[in-house]
Amino acid sequence: METQEYRYRIIYEKKGAVRFVSHLDLGRIFMRALRASGINLKFSQGYNPHPRVSFCPPLPLGFEGICEYMDFETVEELDYVPAVASVNNHLPAGIRVNQIEKVERKAQQPLSSRYVVKMVGEGKFIRNSIEIFLKMDDCRLRVKPGGKVVDVRKSVKSLSFIKENGEILLDMEISLSQGEYINPRRLVEHIFNKSERDVLNLVISRQEIIYGEKNV
């Protein structure tokens, strides 16, 4: 028997000090907030039932995100306009739901994400470094110590910068595909020849997740 499905997507932002809450802990925070808001989540069947939820690709610890999402299923139709306010009531400062919307079962796949990095340094140097990087045919980089090597030139879909109120904002789109993903921090460290500590101090914000059909 085909039962009616109720699938929703929460679109939220994560800003300020809560950017230091890990993806795993954030998941728990959302589960509690949904339950406390009285939303009846649908559970998986079986010996060890779990609520049916899924998250967007994890945000690295310390990153902000302004357009993050989480999908969940409920056992009944959700009145999602008031649900926004009531979920927000049960979230810590810095995490805010901006919208809840209905989604189809076969939602499109996340292909890439776009980030903005608040840079410190000289505009000229940054411009040169970007130009050099973009001219490369390939650029093999170890994703982390002991990790695998990735051609990060292929991972970077776009890379540019703007000056805004005296700040230099780096704008980069990075692939989320298997074997192409690179942490934007690692990339900045490499392209601009920064120290690990300096790179950790940068505030990086994920602006959007770009979806589409996967090209096979």
Partner: protein
Amino acid sequence: MPTCFDLIERSILPHVKKPARYIGGEINASKKGFSPDRVNICLAFPDIYEIGMSHLGLKILYNIINDKDCFSVERVFCPWTDMEKELRDNSIPLFSLENKVRLKDFDVIGFSLQYELCMSNVLTMLDLAGIPFKSEDRDSEFPLVIAGGSSVCQPEPFVKFFDVIVLGDGEHVILEFLEWVKRERKLLKEDKVKALEKLASEIESAYVPSLAKPPRQVRRRKLRVLESYSCDEKLIVPHIQSVHNRVVIEIMRGCSRGCRFCQPGMISRPVVEKPAKGIIAEAVRKIEDTGFEEVSLLSLSAGDYSGIKELLGDLVSVFDKKSISVGLPSLRADTFCIDLASFVRKVRKTGITFAPEAGNERLRKIINKDLTDREIIEAAGYAFSKGWNLIKLYFMVGLPRETDEDVLSIGSLIEKIIKVAKQNKKGRMSVNVTISNFVPKAHTPFQWENMNSIDELRRKHRLIRNSVRCKNLKISCHDPEMSYLESVFARGGRSLADVILKAWEKGARFDQWNDIFDFGIWKSSFDETGIDMSSLSCKPGDKLPWSHIDYGVKQGFLITERQKALKGEMTPDCRISKECTGCGACD
């Protein structure tokens, strides 16, 4: 004055492990701003955030203080070693989680002391806050540094670091104390010594160690009624997974079983129970407010709560349909309790814990643990037949009058349990055994007993490990060096303050953490201070360092209990036998 949290967020938090420990802003955390018009207290827990946020006492005090408009409470935990280094390297003082205020700017810093080996962390926190360690070195410019919690029942080793020590249940006395601070602000600024003298005479259970005249008997405070607090009570929901990731509700305080080694059982008499109606309402309210998916009932011995069966029945019927589970720790090894446990855990029967403590009945009589081998084996078989596949067993070595035969009997009891497990359980099953080391504690009948040496404890651990082997069995033993140090602080006097200071200077941190604890540091600190660790034991007739600290149970009772122990005589639980044992706690 707020510290520059922007700077901390930008250039310190990215470099430490689990930075969410230091950001505050959790759901239900206090939103009162910092105002000098209120009495501001910072509750300080000398361990990391995840541990401290699981501690019930902290939650209780946080709520009752914040309930009052004229007081404001914030929290601080001990920074992990990486954060300590970052704060030092950047000259940033330790700050509170709520308003990111320097600890120095509070009126009161209230430490919660839950175990003997937390003092190095207390010193780390004071040092990072720029507050001198010793009470005598702090003038009225500094906050009052006070302490409470179960460890303060024998406070002498660390009294020099505190201005006031609050004995017993803190719920009422903390409010009286803060009222007093509010009233005596002027005097506190003008003359701290005089103010503290006044405090000691006005507030019962406030122990002021620095008084010129040696302190009179100081009596602990004891709640006679255990209630659920007001409906405004809000549970802070930690950002990061804490040790107890659930709603915890205290259903009963104290235990009257009377195990002779057990300090919590002795110092929290008489037993008080929270009415069932209040428990259910509190559970529903907190689950709805926080969104947790488990509620756990806390007490030293949950099976002894009168009407526990009915209470669980009611809770399960309220929560079952909401997929919220009910947890029940600390059960006795009997079929009644296993029935309770299987009732609340219909699925996911992860593990059940029994504490036989000793390997045979002779020794169990000495420690007054009313359990026969047969009962334990039956209970284990019953638990496996009910569907559990993991049993955890707690034993102790180094008990008074213990022989090698007694130690070996732990192994044979484990063997019998494994056998009965195999008979009753098809498929995967395992037995996890934890061996802890007996530490003689103040206010117990065993306070005059000897502590085994480190080598002796190691030898006993080996005896057990060699006596029983099975692929389904895991045995872990508490670190004998850590237990030994614990025993020194459990019975030592004021001279230990200098040892603590020295050890801290040499780098002692997080001493209750196995992977960090460094006994070498402590050993050399004792050597350099000229104190012999083994000299700090007690014999009957000795003047005990804590003789002026009164936790209800009378000295005469402890002596009688000790004599009975040596004869292998038991003392029944007065709540079951309805006969007074004369311990004196109800007087």
